[in-house]
């Protein structure tokens, strides 16, 4: 697939335009377009550098502050360690995002396969449209829905989990009432990222070469075997990319977490207990209004940590995709 893309990108330069009526116009237009494209590419790098620079610069007062100064901020631990403050936040952020991915990706692959290979044409169109529609709902709406409608409904489920599976550290009880806990956040975030993961996966599954599918069927494969042998291997790197898009949204989600979670700064695995976790983005939104200048700086330092996590996640995803590309059958 990457080979094809490379060819497509190189095409404009190779293709001559002898049919152009305005002599020389083609060359000028080509040059202008090339500069515009190059400029846009450079702009992205510049923005990235500017964001990194801004975060470092604004976080510096907190990074270089003494422990006594930091401890004077009421919401920073008494030992005044910035790392001790950022650590649980990073843990909570990653935990929420991974939980959301674990819940969302299997369902998303199921929906995408149903739309691309199982559903009748008309139903597939309607479903695809609905999924795209879900992706456009703003996160604050999900937050309100999750906090006001969904959370009270989940109370019984979480209670059952902690009563019957409480021996697993993840479901340690007693389940909090109301269920303003990480598990609820995971469910709402999963619903939020489901559409984007589904939409991208569906597009990728639809790209599976018909020849591969027909070859599999001709060899006597059932539809499920065809999906397993032709569609899934072809779409694997695409699904990983889709998951990373979803992960990005889950990592940075603010409003839904802010409205649903009872925050706390610990490294706890107890997903059903309140006041154990907090994410970076929600914490910034929570503490910013009353923060003094050093407090703002400390919050921006946590933002810097989020920036680094996002970069690392994306680089890891690139690496996974490139490693898999050779086996995907896409080339």
């Amino acid at each position: 697939m990457s080979g094809q893309r490379l060819q497509a990108e190189a095409e404009p330069e190779l293709a001559p335009a002898p049919l152009s009526v305005r002599g020389g116009g083609h060359d000028r237009a080509g040059r202008v377009f090339r500069w515009l494209a190059t400029g846009s590419g450079v702009l992205i790098l510049a923005v990235l550098a500017a964001v990194a620079g801004f975060l470092l610069l604004e976080a510096w007062p907190a990074l270089s502050a003494s422990r006594e100064d930091l401890a004077a901020i009421s919401w920073i631990p008494d030992d005044g360690s910035l790392l001790g403050y950022v650590g649980p936040l990073v843990f909570g952020t990653v935990l929420a995002a991974i939980l959301a991915l674990l819940l969302a990706v299997p369902v998303a692959i199921g929906i995408a396969l149903f739309i691309s290979h199982y559903a009748p044409r008309r139903l597939a169109d309607v479903l695809g449209y609905l999924v795209d529609l879900l992706a456009a709902i703003p996160s604050v709406v999900y937050g309100l829905w999750g906090g006001l409608w969904l959370a009270p409904k989940l109370q019984g489920v979480w209670g059952w989990l902690s009563d019957n599976l409480g021996f697993i550290p993840l479901f340690e009880g007693p389940a909090a009432t109301p269920p303003r806990v990480m598990m609820t956040v995971g469910v709402v975030l999963a619903v939020m990222i489901l559409p984007i993961v589904t939409a991208v996966s569906r597009e990728v599954f639809l790209q599976t070469p018909r020849l591969h599918e027909e070859a599999a069927l001709a060899l006597g494969a059932t539809r499920w075997e065809m999906v397993r042998m032709a569609v899934l291997p072809f779409g694997r790197s695409g699904v990983i990319s889709a998951s990373m898009l979803g992960l990005g949204r889950a990592l940075g989600e603010t409003m839904a977490v802010l409205m649903i979670l009872s925050p706390g700064l610990t490294y706890s695995w107890a997903l059903l207990m309140a006041g154990r976790h907090q994410t970076i983005a929600a914490n910034i939104a929570l503490q910013f209004p009353e923060a003094n200048p050093l407090g703002v700086s400390a919050l921006i330092a946590t933002g810097l940590a989020l920036f680094v996590i996002t970069l690392l996640v994306n680089m890891a995803a690139r690496w996974v995709v490139s490693r898999r590309a050779a086996f995907s059958g896409a080339n």
Partner: protein
């Protein structure tokens, strides 16, 4: 940085206060300046319509709804005046006031010694005035089926929130509530997750009234880790409502249909009411060692005076008794006179559920306001 935050906050303030202000001036019943209602004459030292200009204020978000009501009421009497209030938080308000960026500030806490010295410099040759014009009771609210009110001594409240009393049918609660069928249910305390003046006043009360049961320092940030918490007053009320056996603390005006706790005062139990809150402010002594214009109240949280409600938030209005600009002084004097007037306090009471200040305190405030001179 500060400038950017301020710009953001101003944008927010405009967005938030615009509809509020609209509500205030459209309210036909509670409008203090309505035709045929009480005349603005006695409260305002300057004849109606004489004033023009803009009055900028900033500070505690607790005063936001009250300030919106005051601004609406004042502006409808003086159409050429623009009053703006930027709810940046108490600390931000005090800083901007000391730096001279705003004429009036709102603050949940009095100025500390350092700020007081700087503010005196700012107000020279006048004094800095700290006026307790926003008094609001904080309610302890809970959600138990069929129980609308409970009695609790300070030590019991502290024990519940320190999580040493963990069940609703505990002996301590039962002892204060003879005849009430308390359920055998776990208590879930709900606190504020953001830093707030409400938390600070609540922990101050617990530390003063029940030092044995409450071993923590007063703080704007909830001192215990873990447990339920939510952002803002509405978040706490929502969480208490959604849960079973939950208990929390919130501005009394937002308590809604939740059960409320009558706090132990002496041998009696006093439910929250605006009158009881104002009575505590009256029963408390003035803080010593401050300028004459500074009416800081040293809240007596352990007061045993009958009819006082000890869990009260007092938010101060900071101003100077002298301004460089004559117009500023006139404007501030007229505005504060309106805020302290019965009409102004009634407007805040209906908009924000605050407790109107007592006549005695009003007299003291008006004496300070009359001293504001160019």
């Amino acid at each position: 940085m500060t400038r950017r935050r301020t710009a953001l906050a101003i944008a927010l303030a405009v967005a938030v206060s615009a509809p509020l202000a609209a509500c205030g001036s459209d309210d036909p019943i509670n409008h203090p300046w309505r035709p045929g209602g009480s005349t603005p004459g006695p409260a305002a030292p300057v004849a109606e319509g004489d004033l023009a200009g803009s009055l900028t204020a900033a500070g505690a978000s607790s005063q936001e709804s009250a300030m919106a009501a005051w601004a609406a009421g004042f502006q409808s009497a003086y159409p050429d005046v623009v009053v703006s209030y930027d709810p940046v938080g108490s600390g931000g308000g005090r800083t901007q006031f000391v730096e001279g960026g705003i004429q009036v500030a709102g603050s949940d806490a009095p100025l500390d010694d350092e700020e007081l010295a700087a503010a005196q410099d700012r107000c020279a040759p006048g004094d800095v005035a700290e006026l307790p014009l926003y008094v609001s009771p904080i309610a302890v609210v809970f959600n138990l089926d069929g129980i609308a009110s409970l009695n609790m001594s300070p030590a019991t409240v502290a024990g519940v929130f320190a999580r040493t009393i963990t069940r609703w049918n505990a002996a301590e609660i039962a002892a204060d509530n003879p005849g009430v069928a308390l359920p055998d249910l776990a208590i879930t305390p709900v606190t504020r997750s953001d830093e707030s003046g409400t938390t600070e006043n609540f922990t101050e009360y617990l530390a003063a009234a029940a030092p044995q049961a409450w071993p923590y320092e007063p703080s704007g940030n909830w001192p215990l880790d873990g447990g339920q918490s939510a952002q803002g007053t509405s978040g706490v009320v929502q969480t208490v409502t959604d849960g079973v056996g939950t208990i929390g603390y919130a501005d009394a005006s937002k308590a809604g249909s939740l059960g409320t706790v009558a706090l132990g005062v002496g041998d009696d139990f006093v439910p929250f009411s605006p009158e009881a809150a104002a009575a505590l402010v009256d029963a408390s002594p003035r803080a010593a060692g401050r300028p004459a214009a500074s009416l800081v109240v040293d809240l007596d949280r352990t007061s045993t005076a009958p009819g006082t409600y000890p869990l009260v938030l007092v938010s101060y209005t900071l101003a100077c008794t002298a301004y460089e600009d004559d117009a500023d002084a006139e404007l501030v004097a007229a505005f504060l006179a309106y805020v302290a007037s019965e009409e102004g306090q009634a407007a805040a009471a209906s908009a924000a559920g605050s407790a109107p200040v007592s006549p005695a305190l009003r007299e003291q405030v008006l004496a300070v306001v009359e001293g504001i001179a160019p």
